[in-house]
Symmetry: C5
Amino acid sequence: MNIQRVVRNLVTTKRHFWLTTQSLRVVENASGKLEVALDPIGCKPGDFVITVEGTAARLATDNPKITTDLTIGGIIDHWSEDDW
Amino acid sequence: MNIQRVVRNLVTTKRHFWLTTQSLRVVENASGKLEVALDPIGCKPGDFVITVEGTAARLATDNPKITTDLTIGGIIDHWSEDDW
Amino acid sequence: MNIQRVVRNLVTTKRHFWLTTQSLRVVENASGKLEVALDPIGCKPGDFVITVEGTAARLATDNPKITTDLTIGGIIDHWSEDDW
Amino acid sequence: MNIQRVVRNLVTTKRHFWLTTQSLRVVENASGKLEVALDPIGCKPGDFVITVEGTAARLATDNPKITTDLTIGGIIDHWSEDDW
Amino acid sequence: MNIQRVVRNLVTTKRHFWLTTQSLRVVENASGKLEVALDPIGCKPGDFVITVEGTAARLATDNPKITTDLTIGGIIDHWSEDDW
């Protein structure tokens, strides 16, 4: 799993069916690279989270048919920019 | 998922069976790296999109036998080069 | 598999269901990049370990429904910073 | 999918069973990195191709038991070094 | 598949169950990065090999339950440092 920080929400009005009802967040890693993760937990910008990728990302949702390859798996309790 | 921009269409007359009837787009990421994504939505050059990779890419088509490892999952409403 | 070193434990009070009862470790690779691995073996900080990723990471736990994409598969007997 | 160029054939007399009867090609990407792809189409050195990775690579052969993680999925009609 | 060179054997006395009876080799790529591959063929240090990753790595063993994400798929007949 990777350690990433939630940057903001992502709005996409035209989406694939299995993604339509899901919350998507823009997340960044330690080097500032941006990705998009599905959020089944309810995170807010600034949260440090662990993200799960690949087939595990689909299993980390309620429905493995959801076509995500990156899902937030938890919010880290104690983490700051200095830990990165 | 990754955030990529559609560059142009890709024409390949000699293709694997499961790709033959699919629309393929050349997409680039923030650092200019090119990849090829299957487009089940109907994007045009310049659109910023989220792309899904791995097994989820196949599930994001109508038929999981389609041999794609990268599929466009949605068009982002508000994104510009400055957001990258 | 990759060769990584255990840095410390990771505490996340708000986690996805399938990760709740699992031990998570922050691990680093030769270039200092941090990731989070599930630890079914019982490692301590400083241990050099081999980590398994992808679907194999789930199979390396007791339950393939556990939504990990990185799992510690073994502790390396003889390895030091010089070997990296 | 990635855009790669066929460099040459690869000869391996001692191979895993599921790879023995397959044509393997050395391919390079835009930055010159070499990989090995299974070729079910019949490419020649110099061809620009799209390659499929992961589980899709196995589905892009006649037999998903073939242990490839990279398979050529099509020959690109119009592509040159300048497009890279 | 990737082209890697066998560096040496890897000894791990404390291993995950499905890896216990398998031969593991430290392999390096063209840029010197080290990884660990399962070796079902019987390679020796210095051999240039093709390695298979992901789910295909598990299929390239006798038992897909073996929790490997990187398996040696063949020994390359003619390859030297100059080819890298």
